[in-house]
Symmetry: C3
Subunit: 168 residues, 3 copies
């Protein structure tokens, strides 16, 4: 049976490795839907590290904005891993798109998928309140997006030191 | 039976909605003890959003500093929701009050309540160490306050993506 | 039977008190392996507060860099508490040492201990992405170090408001 699974956690908490293992549990080949855009050398290095860890059982599908379209295009080909919601939100906000409408469309599309979707996101709200208004706005949006996707997900895990803690 | 219940979590982790549902479980009408003070437009908007979500079963009791007095004044009228400890601490510290004495008085008062008290607080210590000393001092105080209230609480939950994870 | 136990959590989440109780469960005297170096008055005050809480059943062994050596020197004398990994990492990085090699050596040494080792570390990755590159680099390193030690540990706990939440 196909599922929607959300993996959240802080930076370098092992979310991606947990998500990859869970996706492969639903079969191979698996599709890696990458929302990352390489804005600078640091991000390029991060993307390369993630890609190097994934094995030959993965097909990469890069899509910074149209997640619903990427899910439609890859459904029926095995499990999908969306990595990650937080970068997708960043792309939407920086591009001046309506992130709330996009989030609603995603939450509508998820229960209609035939193949499993594992989604990685970030916990960004557990530090001190940020100084600048844009960071606070992003933090609020990311928290709401996580709540909405968690509400529609079948399973939710919090990654702590590389270990999955079941929340739902 | 009445209880003290603490809900902690990061920004926009769904703490307030979880706390509201838990409080209403103990009956209606319920009293919303609001510690927020509208310092600026951003805070005013946040307060308005929270108030709009609460239904007609809620009576609002605004009290930025004297939480023990607010609990005494509202006991016997149904469950109370204190939202939130972190803003209360901010009010105490900015006003030059002795927050440790106030916290001790609160922890003494909580077990003596006849009606349930659900308390919302924030996780602020899971980010990188803040640059400025005041933010570090606040972060330390908030962490200690959370520990003290959690020690006296009957139940403690960590909100993750809108979902309650039972800690105690 | 001896164990490796990792306690992670945010600032002032009660990690040290939880770790001390767990270590003393394995016998007394217990050795407190302190990685802290007092760079300034704030850190000195923090160290003094921690020391004041520990009772006479504790022997302090200060070691900012050579954790493997400190474990070898104290094995066979009762449980050890390493407080904390994050300061050890800071010392390694600021001193220009190869923290990855040091982390691998630590993870190799831990399963070979005869006496229990309880290790305290910090969650630093659940806030907003830091502005400066050094903070991001430290955050990434701390997250990886936590994952590696958690993978070799027998038990892992997340401290939330002074309460231990079992992760492994």
């Amino acid at each position: 049976m196909s599922k929607t699974i959300l993996i959240t956690g802080g930076a370098r908490s092992g979310k991606s490795a947990i998500a990859e293992a869970q996706a492969l549990h639903f079969g191979t080949p698996a599709t890696y839907i990458a929302t990352a855009q390489a804005w600078d050398a640091e991000m390029e290095a991060r993307i390369a590290t993630h890609r190097a860890r994934r094995g030959p059982e993965w097909v990469t599908h890069a899509e910074p904005l149209d997640l619903v379209g990427a899910l439609a295009a890859t459904d029926g080909q095995g499990p999908r891993l969306v990595d990650c919601l937080t970068l997708w939100l960043t792309n939407l906000m920086l591009g001046g798109h309506d992130w709330r409408a996009a989030a609603r469309a995603l939450c509508d599309a998820l229960p209609r998928q035939r193949d499993t979707v594992v989604i990685v996101t970030n916990e960004v709200g557990a530090g001190i309140v940020p100084d600048n208004a844009l960071a606070r706005e992003f933090r609020d949006a990311a928290g709401l997006l996580n709540q909405w996707v968690a509400a529609t997900a079948d399973e939710v895990f919090l990654a702590v030191a590389g270990l999955p803690l079941k929340v739902k």
